[in-house]
């Protein structure tokens, strides 16, 4: 997460990047064969140097598999209750134990992946899409467009974000779609701000001037010249943001918003298991919690790895 704001030049003359900046910008922008090959070898180097990132990749693939084929992988029906087997601790038959209705916790955790990742993915796509448009317009046009968009973003940022999400879901109605919209709204400022400052840096670069001189309209310049160059930096933010979106969605359902029981979802499973933890039935809440944590952890580590790959200077 970039906590320090990127340098935003106030006038074009100061927009000249430092030598180091333009060097790495060239590295980023070059897209010919050689650069691609060096990117691959760099990726290999980063992975071999950084076993943690590789581990995160493996975890990521596992979660994607669970999300796509969850119900086929799960050993039991996640909704089938079995009174004879209720509250059984982890056994060979039920690795993660069973809950108060005798449902298999492992199966519920696996099947829940699709819902949890789905909510976060759609929310991130929406805020990425909207934020990119808003941020590019604000950075490219400046003036009133910039003022209006920045004001909107500042107003969203004036709220503690999770609490704004709660308020939104309470106002829009307690449904899964509204959890998605609320998560998208609270992530909007991040994308708008990052895209805006990245566009500002490049707005007066030579190749943009050239594109303008050749007669390209603003829309074309923004879409085909500016935005593709902002994309690599955005990938880092998307990855870090996915983890946060998952946490956020699970947090909302933990307090009883959005997803309804008996639908398997990590946040709800932890909430349902919470009442049993004081009497010692730990597996109900701990296993879904660990899986939720692993999912968030995996996206955060991936983001860190991507950052080292794309822009080592951003590392903090």
């Amino acid at each position: 997460m970039t906590l320090t704001p990127s340098p935003v030049p106030s006038d074009p003359s100061s927009a000249d990047p430092s030598p180091a900046d333009s060097l790495s910008a060239d590295l980023r922008i070059d897209s010919d064969q050689a650069a691609q090959q060096s990117a691959w070898s760099q990726a290999r180097y980063v992975i071999s140097e950084n076993g943690v990132t590789f581990g995160a990749f493996l975890l990521f693939f596992m979660f994607v598999l669970f999300a796509l084929f969850g119900s086929a992988i799960a050993p039991y029906d996640p909704l089938a209750s079995n009174a004879a087997q209720s509250l059984s601790p982890p056994t060979a038959a039920h690795w993660f134990g069973t809950d108060d209705l005798g449902r298999d916790v492992l199966s519920r955790v696996i099947v829940a992946t699709r819902l949890d990742l789905g909510i976060a993915t759609i929310a991130v796509i929406i805020s990425f899409f909207l934020g990119s448009i808003l941020g590019t317009c604000a950075g490219y046009f400046g003036g009133i467009a910039d003022k209006l968009i920045s004001r909107l973003v500042d107003t969203i940022m004036a709220f503690p974000l999770f609490i704004l999400a709660m308020g939104l879901v309470a106002a829009l109605g307690n449904t899964v779609e509204n959890i998605i919209y609320a998560t998208a709204v609270i992530n909007l400022p991040l994308y708008t701000r990052v895209v805006r400052s990245e566009v500002l840096i490049r707005r007066d670069a030579g190749y943009i001037e050239a594109a303008r001189l050749v007669g390209n309209g603003p829309l074309r310049i923004m879409a085909t010249h500016l935005f593709p160059n902002v994309l690599p930096v955005m990938m880092v933010h998307i990855s870090l943001n996915m983890g946060w979106a998952i946490l956020n969605a699970a947090g909302l359902s933990f307090i009883g918003l959005g997803v309804r029981p008996p639908t398997p979802e990590w946040g709800i499973m932890v909430a349902e298991g919470a009442t049993y933890i004081i009497s010692g039935e730990w597996w109900l809440a701990i296993f879904p919690g660990i899986v939720l944590m692993l999912a968030v952890f995996c996206f955060n580590l991936l983001g860190d790895g991507l950052r080292d790959l794309i822009d080592p200077r951003m590392r903090t």
Binding site: M1, L3, T4, V52, R151, D154, T155, A158, F159, P160, L161, F162, I163, L164, M166, G167, L168, A170, A171, L172, G173, G243, L247, A250, G251, F254, I255, G256, L257, G267, V270, A271, G273, A274, I277, I278, G280, W282, A285, I286, G289, I290, L292, M293, V296, F297, N300, L301, D304, T316
Partner: protein
């Protein structure tokens, strides 16, 4: 270059916070009025009669234009009228005021815990970049931000209450054996000390420990990361090299020169940290049955008690604006350059 006096500066910062406050009020207003369907029905609750709904429509001015409604809303806010809570049957404002100290105490304790842990970790990592300490601090920080607060809380309860039995039952601010200390600040730790009641202080502290640690772990990551980055930046600057060349001791260089300069970005990050803390507060309060405004909002949400939820969102947003203002002022106090106009 002319130096502005501190009172002018403070006044200017307060003025700069006004647009955020206006924005917050507009958004909360839109949230209350943009409810799909009939807002009067929402505010009256699911079991309300037709007459009750009509009466609420009248008092909220819902039959008038949106602009007129907005001014009625502002007028109510100035009179401190946030509506009535359906669940408690009392005014939302008095409910929130009664519960706010509990939330503040928890949030501040969480912040304290994470500062005490994050600052040394960040400094340690920055003085030995690339070492195993650096890597493990990075890993701990990433793990901390990946932990869902509600899960950390439950895990701590399981370990320290159920397994080890060292923590008290996770049921509120004070065990039933103790009476609340006489209210001065509303913060039990301070009030019990003021009353010189150390038994109550200890009891309140032991109740506060686990929820505060849960909150603090979540805020640890951004603080530790920024401390490390800021210290790294400062340590590679010219004046530190000069200080080293002059033969100053390592301790003087680290804490007298480097850390004081690194404080500035750390203070700036506190804004983000408070956004995290206030949000996570809601979850932690629910887990630990903490009688703050977060758990109040959660039960209001479940009961579709809209006036209470909106009052809560507004209170939290205003609190956050005020905290950001305080951070700004703190920044101006720490950094003399912030008062210099170019």
């Amino acid at each position: 270059m002319s130096r502005t006096s501190t009172p002018t500066l403070i006044f200017r910062r307060i003025l700069a916070a006004l647009p955020s406050i206006v924005g917050v009020i507009i958004i909360t207003f839109v949230l209350t009025r943009a409810l799909p369907g009939d807002p009067a029905a929402y505010f009256a609750g699911p079991a309300a009669s037709q007459e009750a709904i009509e009466q609420i429509r009248e008092t909220l001015g819902l039959n008038r234009s949106l602009l007129a409604q907005f001014f009625i809303y502002i007028g109510e806010l100035f009179r401190g009228d946030l509506g009535m809570s359906l669940t408690t049957g009392q005014s939302v404002l008095s409910d929130l005021l009664a519960r706010l100290p509990a939330s503040l105490e928890l949030t501040l304790a969480g912040l304290f815990f994470s500062l005490v842990l994050a600052l040394p970790l960040g400094v340690l990592a920055a003085t030995r970049p690339g070492s195993w300490i650096d890597h493990s601090v990075r890993l701990i920080a990433t793990a901390g931000v990946s932990l869902p607060t509600f899960f950390t809380g439950l895990l701590l309860i399981y370990l320290f209450y159920f397994r080890l039995g060292v923590a008290p039952a996770p049921l509120g601010r004070l065990s039933l054996l103790y009476t609340n200390p006489p209210a001065v600040t509303g913060l039990f730790l301070i009030d019990s000390l003021l009353a010189a009641d150390f038994g109550t202080f200890w009891a309140a502290l032991s109740q506060l420990m686990l929820p505060a640690i849960t909150l603090g772990l979540f805020a640890l990551a951004p603080l530790a990361r920024v401390t490390r980055a800021a210290m790294l930046g400062v340590l590679s600057s010219d004046f530190i090299r000069t200080a080293k060349a002059s033969g100053l001791s390592r301790r003087t260089i680290l804490f007298g020169y480097a850390f004081r300069n690194a404080l500035l970005p750390i203070v700036t990050t506190l804004g983000v940290v408070f956004s995290f803390l206030l949000g996570a507060n809601v979850l932690v309060e629910k887990v630990f049955a903490w009688p703050g405004i977060g758990s109040y909002a959660v039960s209001a949400l479940v009961a579709s008690d809209y006036a209470a939820v909106q009052g809560f969102v507004l209170t939290m947003a205003l609190l956050y604006v005020v905290l950001n203002l305080l951070i700004d002022l703190l920044y101006a106090v720490i950094d003399p350059r912030a008062g210099v106009e170019s």
